[in-house]
Structures are given as C-alpha cells and as structure tokens.
C-alpha cells in the first residue's frame, strides 16, 4: 500500500525564500538563472554596463552604415584637413567639427571617428573569439583535469603553471612577430586576426581552466554525480549531461570578465606593433601611433577612451553577472 502522502500545493510552489530557509546550502537550478536575472535587473550599474556592451556590439555590427552616415571611409586620406607643413590637423582640436566628429589623424587626415567605429569591430571580434578559444580550451582541460583527477590533473595543472609563469606578453609578441603570413587557408589580415585570436586565446585559457577545474572538482564530489554513476552512466554522459550544465553559469561569468582582459591584451599587442596589418584600424594601433603625436589630445584620448569604455562596460557587466550568480551574495 502506498502511504497517503500529502503534497501541499503551496509549499511546493517556487519559493525564492527557500534560498533563505536553506541557509548555507547553495541553491541552484533554473532559479539560479531567474534569481540572477532578478538581481541583475536591480543592479543598475551592471545593467548600464550591459547596455553599453550591447551598444558596442551594435556599433561593431553596423559600423559600415554608421560610418557612411556620420563619417568618412576610415581608410580615406583627407589631405585637405591637414596643415601641409606641420602635417598636423588644421584648426583647433584636431579639426573636430561636424565634418569630422572626432577630428582627423595627423599626416593623412583620416577620420578618427570612423576609425574608432571600425576599430570596434576588430576589438570586439578578437575579444569575443579569443575568449571563445580560451573558454573552449580552458573548459575542456579544466573539466578533464577536475573530473579525472590523478595524473591527468597533475599534468594539466603543471601546464597551467607553465602558462602562468610565462612572460606571456613577451611570448605573444615574439610569436606574433614571426608568424608566417600565409597558412590555414588564410592570408593577410584574415590570418593575422586569426593568429591574434589564437595567441590571445591560447595564452589566457589557464584563468578559466583553473576556475572550471575547481568547480568540476567540487561538482564531482556532489552526490548527483555518484547517482549517475550508480545508474551506470558513462563518463561522457556524466561530463556533458551532469557536470557541464552546472558549469555554464561560472563559465559565462568568467568569459564575460575575460573578454575585457582579452581586448586589453589585443590593444597591448597592437600598441607594441604586432597587431593587425594597416590600414585596418585598431584602437591599440591608433594609440601606438598617437604616442608619436602625444601633443594632439584628441588623437591620444579618443582611442584610449574607446578601449576604456569598452573594457569598463564589460567589466561592469561581468561583475554584475558574477554577483548575480553568486550563491552567497544577497
């Protein structure tokens, strides 16, 4: 016989307060996403960051139309906007005005506004895809290390240590400086962008890898993994069906926080002169040119601000996301 067990409807409703009732035990599940979203919505600063991120993405996607409406072709020279003897922009403030919203570059008079807008595309592309590379490498290695443990973990852990001890920037420069310019069916800037994505992604995976490994380690100890094992589940099932879904939130959060790091990494490489081939504009590249023209505030500031705002927006958003997903934070 079955016991007449009562299922009180009300108690079984979704109760965010079960978060409080079960103090100490972290509550996850879809609620996590939902609670996170609730928290995020209340976090105006993070939302602001998110809005800026979305705007930036839109700007990057629609850079073509934006440039054609508000500026000039980012590659086009405007000798007429340049003082031919000093080669500096004519007029004050770098020839800023309705014609050139943010002024023009010295020497060749290219439209800074257009170049910054066009640069957004590269920065975001590299930021996102490099992060994707790191996330893929980091997640795979992190999960494998955390799940299988033992010598696998030892080996992967050592690899991470090596990466952490590398003077990465130096390596990235060395590598970016000597890469051949043809290969993998790509050529020219296509290949360079791919290389940068690879290099940046490849050098920044350990940060995600560590987090994923840690999370996997603790997930592996959770009883639902044992439950799956005792049902006869294979490693693949456990990894993909049981462990991975629980890693998505932290991965998402740290990926969001890695994007700005990678954008900065790209900017640093471009700044050090091993970025994309000209004339394709990048923010770091613009800044590195601006070094020679440091007397022109507009030339220095706008690309710098572009990097700053982008990175800040991602950081704000990522921070908010992390807080929102943090089971401990209220």
């Amino acid at each position: 016989m079955t016991a007449p067990l009562d299922v009180p409807g009300s108690a079984a409703e979704a109760q965010p307060e079960s978060v409080l009732a079960g103090a100490g035990k972290d509550i996850q599940g879809r609620s996590l996403t939902r609670i996170a979203w609730m928290r995020l919505r209340r976090d105006k600063v993070a939302l602001g960051g998110g809005v800026v991120v979305v705007l930036l993405i839109l700007v990057a996607i629609f850079s073509g139309p934006i440039i054609s409406v508000f500026g000039h072709d980012p590659l086009e020279f405007h000798q007429e906007a340049i003082d031919q003897s000093t080669l500096l922009p004519q007029g004050s403030f770098g020839n800023m005005g309705s014609e050139y919203l943010l002024g023009v570059e010295p020497v060749n008079g290219r439209d800074i506004f257009s170049r910054i807008v066009a640069g957004a595309w590269i920065s975001l592309l590299i930021g996102f895809l490099a992060t994707l590379v790191s996330v893929v490498i980091g997640t795979v290695l992190g999960v494998v290390a955390g799940y299988f443990g033992g010598w696998v973990d030892q080996v992967i852990g050592r690899i991470m240590d090596v990466f952490l001890a590398f003077p990465l920037l130096v390596f990235a420069i060395a590598l970016a400086g000597v890469v051949p310019d043809k290969g993998f069916g790509l050529e020219g800037n296509g290949l360079r962008i791919a290389m940068l994505i690879f290099i940046i992604g490849f050098f920044s995976w350990p940060s995600i890898g560590r987090i994923v490994r840690g999370q996997t380690l603790s997930l592996r100890e959770r009883e639902f993994v044992d439950a799956a094992r005792s049902l006869g589940a294979r490693h693949g099932y456990i990894l993909f069906r049981e462990v991975l879904p629980n890693l998505l939130a932290p991965i998402l959060v740290y990926a969001t926080l890695l994007i700005p790091t990678n954008i900065l990494f790209e900017a640093s490489l471009s700044f050090l002169g091993v970025g994309i081939n000209p004339p394709t504009p990048t923010w770091g590249g613009m800044l590195s040119e601006a070094v020679r023209f440091y007397t022109l505030p507009h030339f220095v500031l706008f690309p710098g601000l572009a990097i700053f705002i982008t990175v800040l927006a991602f950081n704000l958003f990522g921070d908010g996301l992390r807080d929102a997903f943090d089971p401990r934070a209220h």
Binding site: L75, E76, F77, Q79, I82, Q84, S85, T86, L87, L88, P106, V107, N108, G177, V178, D181, K182, E187, G188, G273, V274, N277, P278, P279, E289, V291, R292, F293, Y294, T295, L296
Partner: protein, 564 residues
C-alpha cells in the same frame, strides 16, 4: 659661404652671437667660435652598432667617430657644397693612383700619435684595413675593401690566419706609406679610405670583437668611460697634436653621450637645452615637429637640409604581372607622389619629391622625370593605359611590404594603397619587424617569390657622394643573394654593364655622366619608384657653437662643434 678651414671658421659670420635663423647652418657656420673648453651633452635614441671603426656602418658613427679616430682622408669640414670633397686627414695628400687605377698610395703625416703616445705608422693603418677583413668578427662594417683589394687566397683575417701576409692587398712599404692593391681599377678610392676601416689600430692593443669596449684613440678625444648600451664620455687626448690635424678644432673639453634615450624625450630635451646634440641626425619626431614648425622662435633654431638618401619603393619584377614593364609603369603613374611625400613627413621633415634615383647631393646628379603626372598627384588615365598595354586593363592585385616598426613606411604603404586603388591596383599591406625585414622578408628572394611580393619600401643613403657610392648597392643585379638584399627589383644586364663602365672610368665628368645613364636606365625599367629625397629637420643645440651642416656627413659636422 666658402669653406674656410676650421681654424678661421665662416667668414660670413658676424663677430658677436649669431642671430638664429632657419637654415642658418646650411650655408654658413652658425654661432662661430674658437673658444675651447666646456662639455657637449649628446644623446642617441638607440644604440651604436659598434664603436669599433671596423665594425660600424652608420653615418652618424662615421661622423662622430672622427672625434676619436682619424682616417686617411675625410670630408672637408664646414658647410656648403664643399663638404662633399674629400681632403687628407692622416694622409698628407689625397691618394695617388697608379695609371691602371689598380694601386693607390697614401703618405702619412709626421708626428701622429695614439693616445698612449706610440706613434701612428703606416703599419697600423694597413693592420686596421686587414683587420676589418674579418667579417665574422666585424659583421657590421662595410665590405668594400674586402671586394676591392687583392687579398691573398688563404687569408682569413688577422686573427684566424695571423701568419698570412696580406701585403698583396694592403701594405706599409715604410712607416709613412700605405699602398692599396686593387683587383680592378677603381676611381673613388679617396672616398673609400675616408671610411673608418682605415683608422689605425695598434696591433698589440687589438682585442678583436672586444676592441669596441675601448678603442685606442688616434683623434683629439679618447674614451674616459664606456658603459655599453648606456653612455660613454670622451675627454681630450693629450697625445693628439693639433698641428698634424687641419680638420679638427677640438673645442670642447669633454663629450658626454647618452644612449637609448626615448626619441620624444630627446627632442624635448634638445628644445629645452638639457641635451645639445641629437647624434643620429635624422630629424625630429612628429610630436616635436608639431611644436617647432608653428613656433618661429623654435623654427629659427632648425636647419632643413636635403640629405643623400632616397626613400623608395622597389617594384619587384619577380611575380606576375609586374614582370611586365608596362605594369610597373602603371604603378609609377598611379602613385600619388604628394601623398607619399606627406607620408614621409611632408616637404620639411620628409623630403623633396623624388623623380629619379640619385639624390641631388650626389656629384653630377641630374634631375629628370620619366613619369610626370599633373601636380605630382598621380595620373589614373596614364596608369590605365599602361595597364591596358600590360594586358591587365582591370588592374591587378599584389602585396606591399614595409617595416612595421617604422611609422613612416607604414604611412607610405597606406598612401600607396589608396592611390593605386584608384587605378584598379589592389594592394595588400604587410608589415614586418625591421630586424628581419631584409633577412626573412622583403630582402629574401625565396620569400618574395613565394609570397608574391610586388612592392617593398626601402631606403638608401650613399656611403659617399658619387654615383658608385649611392647607386651600386641598389641597382647592381650581381649583388643579389638569397637573403638580406636591399635590391631585389633592378635586374637589368644593361644597368650592370653601365655600372662596370662607370666604376672603372677615371675621368670624373665622364663617370658622372655614366651614372646618370644608369639612373635613366633604372627609371625606364620602372623597377624603382622613388618617393622622396630625404630631408631632415635638425635642431641646433643650445649653447653649442660652430654649427655647420656638412654635406659629406649629411648632418652637422660634429668635429667642428664647440661649447659656449
């Protein structure tokens, strides 16, 4: 002004303090003085290749080195066109060629001494020349003498084969006579021996590759301290006898040289006066230009000479369709010379628009223009015609290389890309690190062929101001080797023939004419797209006297300078 001897500098100068004026030291000595004493503070934005006379190949090094070394001949000091002339230095007079032009004899002055007081003899000069032969130890220095002199077969350098007598190439027939034996007639020997390979080195003080750490002075100054890569100081060499040296007034007591100073900081310090001399002498940085040019007071402190340097683009005929001369001509016509000039820094800091290979300062140079375009801004029509003749009416695609760490070359590449696109020629730009640009990329035959490189930015400055000194290295197809080439585009048998003819021609005017012919041939071949004959905006340091721009050195004449 006339080129007075340094002892009575610049007759044109008024007695008192000179009035600062733009280009004041191009034609006369600015702020002339004979006052001795004081210190000149100089700075360099990077590092010397080497301080060793056998191992250096930079113009500034040749110029500055004269403070601590003396060569058989040297450029006449002082401003104006006379600076291109060579005058005797260690030697009593210019070289005496044998009638076949294959033996050159130089006689040394009397009373020459090294800093340690030992006399300088012809043996020391011959030893220095022989020593410079060893390119394994001295890879940086010029190798003219390696090729010109009749070295014994088994001679591998003074260190590896110390017992081999090299007198078949260079010998000291007595204490004061140096004789050079050439493998072929060569007219410009006086120019060659003004290079530091002939600066005497005492054999017993020679430490090979380490000699650079302490070079034994034969000039008016000697090393006091030398911190490699950071700084060094020169102080008076009391063994130097002014009476043996008509070229060097040796005014300051001391020279302090700072290395690896940030280029922008260097300019700022030069303007403010805390540094008095910018050693490389290649001109100010853009940031400084922006301050100097609009400011009359600052501008009056500057000079703007044209130097014997051509910035150019090799139009490499190795790949289709640039193997067709018409296609190369299309490039010539399509290029926007004004934009190119701007890329290099404009008419002031960049240079004069170049229409042919040889720059104006070269003896006997002629200016001509085979590819005239309206206002020098390129002619799309003519370019298209040329394209049609080449069989590429819709244009073509090719790749242009440049040195990524050189902003001007980058700007040039961008300008070319813009201009050529108007004629339908699509350029892909590729930047490479300067350190491996010639070895691995734009100067590597295989690379260029495999990667379809069509255009490559280059620059060339003369080693001495005649046709050979300027042209030979960049238009002689026989110099082409697998890697490290400066010339990959000019491969023309006729050009090579003309070069041989010119090199052996002892008559100066005929020789100059032949070099102009070479120039014309190259331009007809359309394998070099000249960009600018370089100019530099040089700033005279504050508190520096006796400043004159010397055309031979292509910068201020460092041995003339004095401190107020």
């Amino acid at each position: 002004g006339g080129g007075g001897t340094p002892q009575q500098p610049a007759q044109s100068a008024s007695g008192g303090a000179a009035q600062p004026a733009f280009n004041a030291s191009l034609t006369g000595v600015y702020n002339p003085s004979t006052k001795k004493g004081g210190t000149i503070k100089a700075a360099h934005s990077s590092d010397w290749d080497s301080l060793d006379p056998a191992d250096t190949y930079y113009g500034y090094s040749f110029n500055f080195g004269r403070l601590y070394w003396r060569t058989l001949t040297t450029y006449k000091t002082g401003p104006g066109p006379d600076g291109n002339q060579v005058v005797p230095d260690l030697a009593e007079g210019l070289g005496e060629p044998s009638p076949d032009g294959k033996t050159w004899t130089y006689k040394l002055r009397a009373g020459l001494k090294f800093e340690d007081g030992t006399p300088i003899t012809a043996k020391d000069v011959a030893y220095a020349v022989a020593r410079s032969y060893d390119k394994e130890t001295f890879p940086h220095g010029p190798s003219y003498l390696n090729e010109l002199l009749a070295w014994p077969k088994d001679f591998k350098g003074v260190y590896k084969t110390p017992d081999v007598d090299y007198k078949s190439a260079v010998e000291a027939t007595d204490d004061t006579t140096v004789v050079f034996h050439l493998v072929k007639p060569f007219a410009s020997m006086d120019y060659i021996v003004q290079m530091p390979m002939t600066a005497p080195v005492p054999k017993d003080k020679d430490t090979g590759a380490k000699y650079r750490e302490h070079v034994i002075s034969s000039g008016p100054y000697k090393f006091e301290t030398n911190e490699t890569g950071k700084r060094f100081t020169l102080v008076r060499n009391d063994q130097w006898d002014a009476s043996t040296d008509p070229n060097r007034p040796a005014l300051p007591d001391k020279w302090e040289v700072q290395l690896n100073v940030n280029a922008d900081d260097l300019d700022n310090q030069l303007m403010s006066g805390s540094i008095q001399l910018d050693i490389p002498g290649t001109g100010m940085q853009p940031a400084a230009l922006g301050k100097v040019l609009p400011d009359p007071a600052l501008k009056a402190r500057t000079d703007n000479p044209t130097i014997q340097r051509l910035w150019y683009i090799s139009v490499i005929p190795d790949n289709k369709p640039l193997d067709n001369v018409e296609c190369r001509k299309a490039v010539m016509f399509a290029a926007d010379r004004v934009a190119n000039q701007t890329a290099y820094g404009g008419p002031v800091a960049g240079g004069e628009i170049a229409t042919n290979v040889m720059p104006p300062g070269i003896v006997g140079q002629e200016k001509f223009d085979l590819y005239q375009t309206p206002e020098n801004k390129g002619d799309v029509e003519k370019a298209k015609q040329a394209l049609a003749a080449c069989g590429q009416p819709n244009g073509f695609e090719t790749t242009m290389t440049f040195r990524a760490d050189r902003p001007r070359e980058k700007a040039l590449a961008e300008a070319m890309q813009q201009a050529l696109s108007k004629a339908g020629i699509k350029l892909t730009l590729k930047g490479f690190p300067a350190s491996s640009y010639f070895s691995d990329y734009a100067g590597n035959v295989d690379y260029v062929k495999k990667n379809g490189i069509g255009l490559a930015t280059h620059g060339w400055g003369s080693d001495w101001p005649d046709g050979y000194g300027f042209m030979q290295a960049i238009v002689d197809s026989r110099t082409i080797r697998p890697a490290g080439n400066y010339n990959l585009s000019v491969k023309n048998a006729e050009v090579d023939k003309l070069i041989d003819q010119a090199a052996g021609e002892l008559d100066a005017t005929a020789r100059a004419k032949l070099w102009v012919d070479v120039d014309k041939k190259v331009m007809e071949d359309a394998s070099i797209l000249p960009v600018v004959w370089a100019k530099a905006l040089l700033m005279r340091g504050q508190g520096v006297t006796n400043i004159a721009y010397n055309e031979g050195q292509q910068m201020y004449d460092y041995v003339l300078l004095g401190a107020e």
